[in-house]
């Protein structure tokens, strides 16, 4: 039996106006698994991802990540978040800081890492995403693809055990999608990172994922191995979704 890193049970999220973003969602992710979450917009996939590191509070249910109860008010969420990296659709790099400073901020402030050590680690991670020569630049001077690679390196700075990707390539120009996906593939295949990725890149899901989850209207409708999922969808809603996006 492999070690379970993420376990969500009966998670509900209802907004003040009564709209249910998540409806009794349960999910288990084991160490080293790469899970892609797909589905139409508004299906709750980003919301589900964001509840896992408590960026989004939940209305009911239980979430355990790395053995910590995320739904519990007493849990030290800041400490948990250092062990769960997150990459955003809009990169969200800190524009007033250089690339190197973006990577060093959390280790210096939260981790209490010495300047020289934080710098060395930041440069190593930048090299890994192929941007070692850009460390002195400001985010505004980089292309979208480069910014997203810096953002991935930044979220790796605290040595997370889990990485959450929230539509990491949706805001990119088409020619920059591959460079970002390549970094993610390397992270999954060579780093053995446990990854959850909300994405519209079906090619990526097919190639890298161990499991594909289809969500619709706040529910997990279907989940399967990627080859089965794409070749042989079971649910009508999954079939409809796939017929709409695959041409």
């Amino acid at each position: 039996m492999t070690e379970v890193l993420i376990e969500a049970r009966g998670v509900c999220k209802t907004y003040g106006n009564g709209v249910a973003a998540l409806d009794e969602v349960s999910l288990t992710v084991a160490r080293g698994e790469v899970v892609c979450i797909v589905g139409p917009s508004g299906s709750g996939k980003s919301t589900l991802l964001r509840t896992l590191n408590a960026m989004e509070p939940i209305s009911a249910g239980e979430i355990r990540v790395l053995g910590e109860a995320v739904h519990d008010r007493r849990t030290n969420l800041n400490r948990l978040r250092t062990r769960v990296g997150m990459v955003f659709q809009a990169f969200n790099l800190f524009p007033h800081r250089t690339v190197l400073q973006n990577l060093m901020l959390a280790p210096r402030i939260v981790g209490g890492v010495a300047e020289a050590q934080a710098r060395e680690q930041a440069l190593r991670l930048l090299d890994k995403v192929g941007l070692g020569d850009k460390h002195d630049q400001y985010p505004g001077q980089l292309s979208g693809g480069q910014q997203q690679r810096v953002a991935i390196a930044r979220s790796l700075c605290m040595n997370p055990k889990i990485m959450l990707f929230d539509e990491p390539t949706s805001a990119l120009d088409p020619e920059m999608v591959k460079e970002v996906l390549d970094v993610m593939i390397e992270l999954a295949e060579e780093g053995g990172m446990t990854m959850l990725c909300v994405t519209h890149e079906m090619g990526f899901a097919r190639k890298v994922a161990n499991r594909v989850i289809f969500m619709d209207r706040g529910e997990i409708v279907e989940q399967n191995r990627p080859d089965e999922f794409f070749a042989n969808p079971q649910n009508e809603r999954t079939k409809l979704f796939l017929s709409q996006i695959l041409h």
Binding site: N53, M55, N78, R79, R81, T82, V84, G85, M86, F88, A90, N92, L93, F94, P95, H96, L105, A106, I109, V110, G111, Y138, P139, G140, A151, R154, S155, C157, M158
Partner: protein, 320 residues
């Protein structure tokens, strides 16, 4: 080049000539208006109130008797009550006689040289008042601005009440309240009461500027910082506030220029700031036109310097 008439040659200096002509015409208008009321300009009376060549007064350090020395350039003051004696040298003109009884603060002699006139002293007080108030207003404003965007309902309501109370009442009324009520209750000096009134007043406007600045920083910045494990205060301090500060710098500069100008209202308290000094000089020269033009120019000196400094700061921070 003006896009409206693309084919035409543009002579930008022409517009500067027009500008100069309008300014000269305005200046002449003021002059002509003064002529019509038979005003006698006496600009020559003004410089002595800016820089005084009379030299500075030497005052008695305590109550006592004066003993003149033979050289006529030094004297001794013998205390009335204690055995204390003080020798004062290098005097240029002695104003008191041998054996005179003088009291603390009395002018007993003069030293020649250049000294600041009353207007410069007023300018100095205005500068001190404004600079101190600026620091306190910034501190109050950042705290209240953070309160405005806080999740805590008590912090939000307190900040909102403060801002509404201060923005809803005239500064002059607040100054009276600080001087007569707060100042009396807490036994504050006029200067302290003035700084307090100006800081609390400007702080409310700074709070709104800080709030707008924080709200102008994309939500994703706070989210990214929190996702890295930073606490809310850490994320505010290292990620959101630096960006908010940069965005609100032009509005802050405007507010601080207002602060310098608003400080003229403290002249209603027993504080000789630039405006009060101006009023005093008018009453001794009977040259209101010259004095108020001079006072205005001195305020412009302060506000202009602040403007230039902020513009430099903006340029230094502009890298993204």
């Amino acid at each position: 080049m003006s896009p409206a008439d693309p084919g035409r040659a543009v002579r930008p200096w022409g517009w500067y000539v027009l500008y100069a002509a309008v300014m000269v015409a305005l200046g002449y208008g003021v002059y002509a208006a003064a002529q019509r009321v038979d005003y006698n300009w006496h600009w020559e009376r003004i410089p002595q109130y800016v820089v005084s060549f009379d030299g500075e007064e030497v005052v008695a350090p305590f109550d006592g008797f004066v003993k003149l020395a033979d050289d006529g350039r030094s004297l001794e003051v013998e205390s009335l009550r204690t055995a204390e004696r003080v020798r004062i040298d290098a005097l240029d003109r002695v104003l008191s006689g041998d054996g005179d009884l003088v009291f603390e603060g009395d002018a007993i002699a003069m030293r020649s040289g250049i000294a600041a006139g009353p207007l410069v002293w007023g300018l100095w007080l205005t500068l001190k008042l404004s600079a101190l108030s600026l620091l306190f207003a910034l501190a109050i404003g950042v705290v209240a601005g953070l309160g405005r965007v806080a999740h805590n309902p008590a912090a939000r309501a307190l900040s909102a009440t403060y801002v509404e109370l201060i923005r809803g009442t005239p500064l002059l009324v607040q100054i009276f309240i600080f001087y007569f009520f707060v100042g009396t209750v807490m036994n504050l000096s006029a200067f302290t009461a003035g700084v307090a009134a100006l800081s609390v007043f400007t702080g409310a406007y700074v709070a709104e500027i800080v709030r707008a600045g924080i709200e102008a920083v994309p939500r994703g910045q706070m989210e990214a910082a929190r996702s890295l494990g930073l606490s809310y205060p850490q994320a505010m301090r290292h990620v959101v506030l630096p960006q908010a500060f940069k965005k609100s710098l032009p509005s802050l500069a405007g507010q601080f220029i207002n602060l310098i100008k608003d400080s003229s209202l403290v002249s209603v308290m027993a504080l000789t700031d630039l405006t009060k000094a101006g009023r005093e000089v008018v009453s001794s020269t009977f040259s209101p036109f010259e004095v108020w033009f001079t006072v205005a120019a001195m305020y412009l000196l302060l506000t202009g310097a602040l403007s230039i400094w902020v513009r430099r700061l903006e340029r230094r921070l502009a890298h993204d």
